[in-house]
């Protein structure tokens, strides 16, 4: 394992993008980063700019209005980049599946590397999902 890969696995920086969700998943993603759950012990850090991020964490159903911006933000991220769909809405559209303004899941718009189901998923589930993604990266790359 080269030093680039070693550092990539030990400090995946996250970009959080809410594509029109109900905030339920967003507060659980934030809760996962705060003292009780402390996702930062895996080296994860929430970043504001897509140009600094390795992993895009997407919450909420993808609305038609936000789609172009989502793709633009994704394209701004440097390679290699990974996408995590958090919550039922990002995985499949959730309760909003079938609404006229909503895509049936994030994978209709972007390639997704990890799905974390739940409405909203508990912080433990989010940590498990991120850890699974890191394990997958370690084996794959």
């Amino acid at each position: 394992m080269g030093i680039t890969m070693w550092s990539r696995l030990r400090s995946p920086w996250l970009l959080h993008f809410n594509t029109g969700g109900c905030n339920g998943c967003d507060i659980e993603v934030l809760a996962a980063l705060t003292p009780r759950y402390d996702l930062e012990r895996f080296g994860c850090l929430l970043k504001g700019s897509p140009r600094h991020a390795d992993v895009m964490v997407v919450t909420g159903p993808v609305t038609r209005q936000v789609r172009d911006r989502l793709i633009r933000v994704y394209e701004q991220m440097p390679e290699p980049k990974f996408v995590v769909a958090v919550g039922a809405c990002a995985c499949s559209g959730g309760v909003f599946r079938g609404c006229y303004n909503v895509y049936p899941g994030l994978d209709a718009v972007l390639p997704v590397d990890a799905y974390i189901p739940g409405c909203p998923p508990k912080p433990e589930a989010i940590i498990n999902g991120v850890a699974a993604l890191l394990a997958k990266l370690g084996g794959k790359l």
């Binding site: 029109g20 969700g21 905030n23 339920g24 967003d26 970043k47 504001g48 609305t63 079938g98 609404c99």
Partner: protein, 398 residues
């Protein structure tokens, strides 16, 4: 190329829909002259999901869970408002114990929402230590909500005709213990916000909303109460058992962001007392009445004081198992015009670009709540989103 010493040019700064200072997709357009914001416009269309239309496609029971997901943070207020609305169509008496449990969970959700907001506000002013402390204490409330309802965030406790779960005596004991802990912590945070130079420097005098502007622009909730106007649906138009549970409507008269911080902290202390009262005075009995799936023909409007302000739901029933029309008016939508007022420099009152995040956060924006309009022209096959300005000058389609 020469630079003028006085700022003669206006710049247009778009912020969002994805931005480090924003947790949600929103487009904030600021017109600035140097450091000063002279005009602000907001586009809240990015979270438009078509909830009202979806409600017409689903039956009344499915709609409880859809109403809950209008907003994940004030989900209890949304289901409460929805269920009261449908119960209003049936005209039934809801068991008293169910109403007490509703108020109990509603107030716990208010504490969780206000703590969440206080943490985010601390983060917006760069005080991340306070943010982490507050979110650690917030987990105590989340544990209680999980124990009472079975889920941390989307609680699904309210249902048409009552509540889905009864509360156990040992849960009540743990709840009282957690309330003692939280009261001590929240009093400490109040002291921090009153004396800490960082908080005062960033919040006092920022985001001024004068009482007459607050009334003119129809602000709601803590934003309105921080402008010294005593208005609270729980006191003005009591629903559930709010006419029995005593509480004070908190107002502050400094009209700024610091007042909004203190209003929310004091409201949490009131909520703690309301939770205690509910547990001590909870009557015994059933927690739910069973109702038919299709309510009678009619219409009903219900109001609830959500953590962010007055929430209005309207339903029109045609006697089938699906509503004919459902309308939701959420508190953040009511606060957007007031927000634009806060972000505009006028006379002596100056808004710096650095004050925008905290002034924006001070209305506790929850955009997923917010209603929007998407217009579709079928003949020209064109789709566009209506801006606030366009809606104000409404002359019809196209």
């Amino acid at each position: 190329m020469s630079f003028s010493s006085s700022y003669e040019r206006f710049f247009d700064i778009p912020i969002g829909p994805q931005h480090p200072a924003l947790k949600e997709p929103i487009l904030l357009r600021l017109i600035v002259e140097g450091e000063h914001v002279v005009a602000a416009d907001v586009d809240v269309s990015y979270t438009h999901r078509g909830v009202e239309r979806a409600m017409q496609e689903r039956n009344y029971i499915q709609n409880i869970y859809l109403a809950e997901r209008i907003c994940g943070i004030c989900n209890v207020a949304h289901t409460l408002c929805y269920c009261q609305n449908i119960e209003g169509l049936y005209d039934v008496e809801i068991p008293s114990r169910a109403l007490y449990i509703r108020v109990l969970v509603e107030e716990l959700a208010r504490i969780h929402s206000h703590l969440l907001w206080l943490g985010v506000a601390a983060h917006e002013i760069g005080f991340d230590t306070l943010f982490m402390y507050i979110w650690r204490d917030r987990e105590r409330v989340m544990d209680l909500i999980e124990e009472i309802t079975g889920n941390r965030v989307t609680s699904a406790i309210n249902t048409i005709g009552g509540v889905r779960r009864d509360i156990k005596p040992e849960t009540c004991d743990r709840c009282l213990k957690a309330m003692d802990y939280l009261e001590e912590r929240i009093k400490y945070y109040k002291k921090v916000c009153e004396i800490d130079p960082t908080v005062i420097a960033r919040c006092a005098g920022v985001g001024i909303l004068k009482p007459k502007d607050a009334i003119r622009l129809c602000a709601v909730g803590p934003t309105l109460r921080a402008s010294n106007i005593k208005n609270d649906v729980r006191a003005d138009d009591p629903y559930a058992v709010h006419d029995e549970v005593p509480f004070n409507v908190i107002v502050y008269d400094t009209n700024d962001t610091l007042a909004r911080v203190l209003v929310r902290i004091d409201e949490m202390l009131e909520s703690i007392n309301m939770v205690r009262y509910c547990i001590e005075h909870m009557p015994s009995g059933p927690v739910r009445v069973r109702l038919k799936l299709s309510p009678p023909v009619g219409e009903h409007l219900s109001r609830v004081e959500a953590p962010r302000g007055e929430l209005i739901h309207y339903v029109k029933s045609n006697g089938t198992e699906k509503p004919e029309r459902y309308k939701v008016r959420t508190p953040t939508f009511g606060n957007i015009p007031a927000l634009c007022e806060m972000l505009t420099s006028k006379g002596d009152y100056v808004v710096n670009i650095a004050d925008v995040p905290i002034a924006f956060a001070s209305i506790d924006p929850c955009l997923s709540c917010t209603a929007r309009v998407v217009m579709l022209d079928r003949e020209k096959e064109k789709l566009w989103v209506g801006s606030l300005d366009r809606l104000r000058r409404w002359r019809g389609w196209g």
